[in-house]
């Protein structure tokens, strides 16, 4: 072959291989929220006209050139959580404790340029729509940012006020997937959401366990409705549509009707989307009926309360969990030790994530200075805290500023939760 033909041939091969590489790289691009290919909405039928979260939303407003105020005696950070008048108070207290511990440690380490951080604590339950009013109060108190909350309705309400008032918000306890899908560039979330839980459960149930007929019992409120949506849709796209989805009312203690409907639907597995107390009661009543089907549940069923209520009937229960508290991680062990010494109780998932979220926020304030706009910029730059090694594990933010890091699973064996990796862990960006 003539040399010029060789050259052209090589040239063509290089271009072709370049295109192939390019194509492979495109193929490597993760779906939104690390959604497995087969679960991507409409993937089998139609390419969407627009994917909204391919790029992060910027904040284009002014304010970054405001200098640090002078003469401050404390640097205020807000806390918004359920502290009164709700069944979420135990979780809210844990979240508050996690924040307090992080603040106290930061103050021991010099605070902000020698000025102590101060937590401005607010309860988001009570008056209708109280969360919005509380965010206004925090603005009036001149907080630089805040951590909150757990309840999905209150957190959404707070978020909307946050945009108007331009206060950075770090969420560490609300797993509602739609929270970060509002495109408000003043929020980051430092906890895996129900989308991640649903994907992990679906993969485990249908792929690992080979089950095909799932019946769902869920709480009839927004947590149940929004939480189960991703699992329901994942099941459908994996060609295993739910055989039943039945609801119970908050406060119910007898679930005979729901369980009978489950029996009638002839499933090979049951999924519960419930709070711990109700979940424990449902499990117990299912087993009392002599039903031996495998039971799976959302992360809120990874709770001592479930073990206490369901007792031996909880054996075999499989749940998701946003972190693994049994890992032999020195930072995690130190946190657990200090937390117990400070508050006299073991930290739960809300305490651990609040601790991580508050530490991220403190680091952002220290880096950006006392300016909400610059603090927001640091929190959402997808660089400073990308891959942050928290006590809850490595935190990976996607373009919606949502934590899509590893999620864990648990199985109850001999009265204890045993942790194992989600089958989807390999999809997580490392």
């Amino acid at each position: 072959m003539k040399s010029v033909y060789k050259f052209l041939l090589i040239f063509l091969l290089v271009i072709i291989s370049g295109f192939q590489l390019s194509g492979q790289e495109k193929g490597k691009k993760k779906n939104y929220a690390n959604t497995p290919d087969e679960i991507v909405p409409y993937e089998r039928f139609h390419k969407p006209y627009l994917n909204f979260f391919d790029t992060p939303q910027l904040f284009t407003g002014p304010g970054r050139n405001k200098p640090d105020p002078k003469g401050l005696k404390e640097v205020r950070i807000g806390f918004l959580g359920p502290l009164d008048s709700t069944e979420l108070v135990p979780q809210g207290r844990q979240m508050l404790n996690g924040c307090i511990l992080a603040i106290e440690e930061a103050n021991k380490n010099g605070g902000y340029k020698g000025i102590p951080f101060k937590l401005m604590v607010h309860n988001d339950f009570g008056l209708w729509g109280a969360a919005a009013n509380k965010v206004v109060q925090m603005d009036d108190e001149h907080v630089w940012a805040f951590v909150g909350s757990i309840d999905d309705i209150n957190t959404h309400v707070a978020l909307r006020a946050t945009l108007k008032l331009e206060i950075p918000m770090v969420n560490t306890g609300d797993p509602d997937p739609t929270l970060t899908e509002t495109r408000i560039p003043w929020l980051i979330r430092v906890i895996s959401d129900d989308r991640q839980s649903s994907y992990a459960l679906a993969e485990y149930i249908y792929k690992v366990k080979g089950l095909t007929r799932v019946a769902v019992i869920r709480v009839d409120n927004r947590y149940g409705r929004v939480g189960i949506k991703e699992f329901r849709e994942a099941s459908l796209r994996m060609l295993h549509p739910l055989v039943l989805e039945i609801r119970y009312r908050e406060g119910d203690t007898v679930f005979a009707k729901q369980i009978q409907r489950v029996i009638d639907s002839n499933p090979d597995a049951i999924v519960l989307w419930a709070n711990a107390e109700a979940g424990g009661m449902i499990i117990k009543q299912i087993r009392e009926k002599g039903i031996t089907l495998p039971i799976f549940g959302c992360d809120r069923l990874m709770s001592p309360e479930v073990l206490k209520i369901a007792g031996k009937d909880a054996e075999g229960l499989v749940t998701t969990c946003q972190y693994n508290p049994t890992l032999n991680n020195p930072k995690l062990k130190a946190f657990q030790k200090h937390y117990y010494e400070r508050f006299g109780i073991e930290p739960d998932v809300f305490a651990a994530h609040a601790y991580d979220g508050m530490n991220i926020l403190i680091a952002a304030i220290r880096k950006a200075g006392l300016n909400r706009y610059r603090i927001r910029d640091v929190l959402t730059d997808l660089k400073t805290f990308q891959g942050y090694e928290g006590i809850t594990g490595k935190i990976i933010f996607d373009d919606a500023f949502n934590d899509i890091g590893s999620i864990w699973m648990t199985e109850v064996k001999n009265g204890k939760y045993h942790f194992f990796h989600s089958p989807l862990d390999t999809l997580v960006v490392k």
Partner: protein
């Protein structure tokens, strides 16, 4: 003699078909850059920019210029201006630190000290029936009537929530969009009604915008699309994104582009819907979606929308867009000085060779983060995150 890459030792040309293949491979198959789409044109730089050129390019659309910006230096209570509302010769500007009223060339500030519920003022409307000014704040709804301020809160009335994102007066009725649902106040009976997910087809209890028109009340329900309330039949219906997904839009013209809606405005038979994901347009029969990549819309992040006759005014985080269904006229401030530009797109979508034409402007709006707009005869007022701007129609 040096060898040419295109010739062999015997100086024969490379076979033409091979050259053609290589040429087309290189030129025809190179992937388009990110964001570029077939039919989408890049900005066309201005050659001429006389008023006549601008007006000709804008077709039937009004064009504004000669901008003057007001800030705290001019007496505005704060540079963060959430909203602006005109009442004849008065201009009301709702700011972070009080209500600014511009009259006879001067700004005067009203605040909590005067009786307003909160200094953060998010929305304002004026009753055509009574002339009362209704002020939606971060801490309640204030009625300014006969020189007196009276405040409604959750604790002293049926107001759904104290954060009032939007207020509109319709005859004797006042409607509000709040953090805890939509509220309806009958000024004759002094009765409040609250609408939320338990008595209206809202997915969530949160509302962000409200407007009136065609014997209907339209509510921008955060997470619930648009809620329509027929004032004659007293019945609701909802308009949501048919694909039911938050992260994508399957078809642009199948309904509201996203369920997170931030504002609504109705005029001349058309409902304009603002979202943080694009613009929706509805004529009662057909929906159309407009995005920043496929039309003249400056940004998908829309803070507010107002219909003024046949023209929709879209307040985005990247400037002010206006659109009449055929032509886009956009206003942007330059980054490092007070001048700006007018961008005109003569076509609803950037397809089939439709181009954006840019015309420099010596003056501009105060900032590209635009939060509100209203009209005063042939003049326009624009609320931004860094002051309020006044422009006049170019003739």
């Amino acid at each position: 003699m040096k060898k040419s890459l295109l010739r062999t030792k015997k100086k024969k040309l490379i076979p033409l078909p091979l050259m053609v293949i290589v040429f087309f491979f290189i030129t025809g198959f190179l992937p388009a850059g990110k964001g570029e789409k077939t039919g989408t044109s890049k900005m066309e730089q201005p050659v001429l920019s006389t008023k006549a050129d601008i007006l000709q390019e804008a077709s039937d659309m009004p064009v504004y210029g000669n901008w003057k910006t007001f800030t705290t230096k001019d007496g505005l209570p704060a540079n963060k201006v959430f909203c602006v509302r005109i009442d004849d010769d008065k201009v009301y500007a709702g700011t972070k630190h009080g209500l600014g009223v511009y009259e006879n060339g001067k700004w005067k500030t009203y605040s909590v000290k005067d009786g307003i519920a909160h200094d953060g003022i998010l929305s304002i409307d004026v009753s055509e029936l009574t002339g009362d000014v209704w002020i939606g704040t971060l801490g309640g709804l204030t009625r300014w009537s006969g020189g007196t301020f009276y405040t409604f809160t959750q604790l002293n009335s049926g107001l759904p929530n104290d954060v009032i994102y939007s207020v509109v007066c319709v005859g004797k009725d006042v409607w509000v969009a709040t953090g805890g649902g939509a509220g309806h106040y009958n000024t004759y009976t002094d009765q409040w009604e609250i609408y939320e997910e338990r008595n209206a087809p809202m997915h969530e209890p949160w509302t962000y915008g409200v407007c009136a028109g065609d014997n209907k009340i339209w509510i921008a329900a955060w997470g619930g699309g648009v809620i329509e309330y027929n004032t004659k039949t007293k019945k609701f219906r909802d308009y949501v994104d048919p694909d039911e997904q938050m992260e994508l839009d399957v078809f642009p013209d199948d309904g509201v582009v996203h369920d997170i809606t931030t504002g609504v405005s109705w005029a001349d038979g058309v409902l304009w819907v603002a979202t943080y994901f694009g613009l929706s347009w509805y004529d009662g029969a057909h929906w159309k979606g407009y995005f920043d990549h496929d039309s003249g819309l400056l940004s998908n992040f829309i803070n507010y929308v107002k219909a003024n006759g046949r023209v929709g005014w879209i307040c985005t985080d990247s400037g002010l867009s206006s659109f009449d269904g055929k032509t886009w006229v956009n206003y942007q401030k330059n980054k490092n000085n007070s001048s700006g530009k007018i961008l005109i797109v003569n076509g609803p979508k950037l397809t089939n060779g439709v181009k954006t034409k840019e015309f420099p402007s010596k003056t501009s709006i105060a900032h590209n983060f635009v939060l509100g707009v209203d009209f005063q005869g042939d003049d326009i007022w624009v609320a931004t995150s860094n002051g309020v701007s006044h422009g006049v129609k170019i003739k």
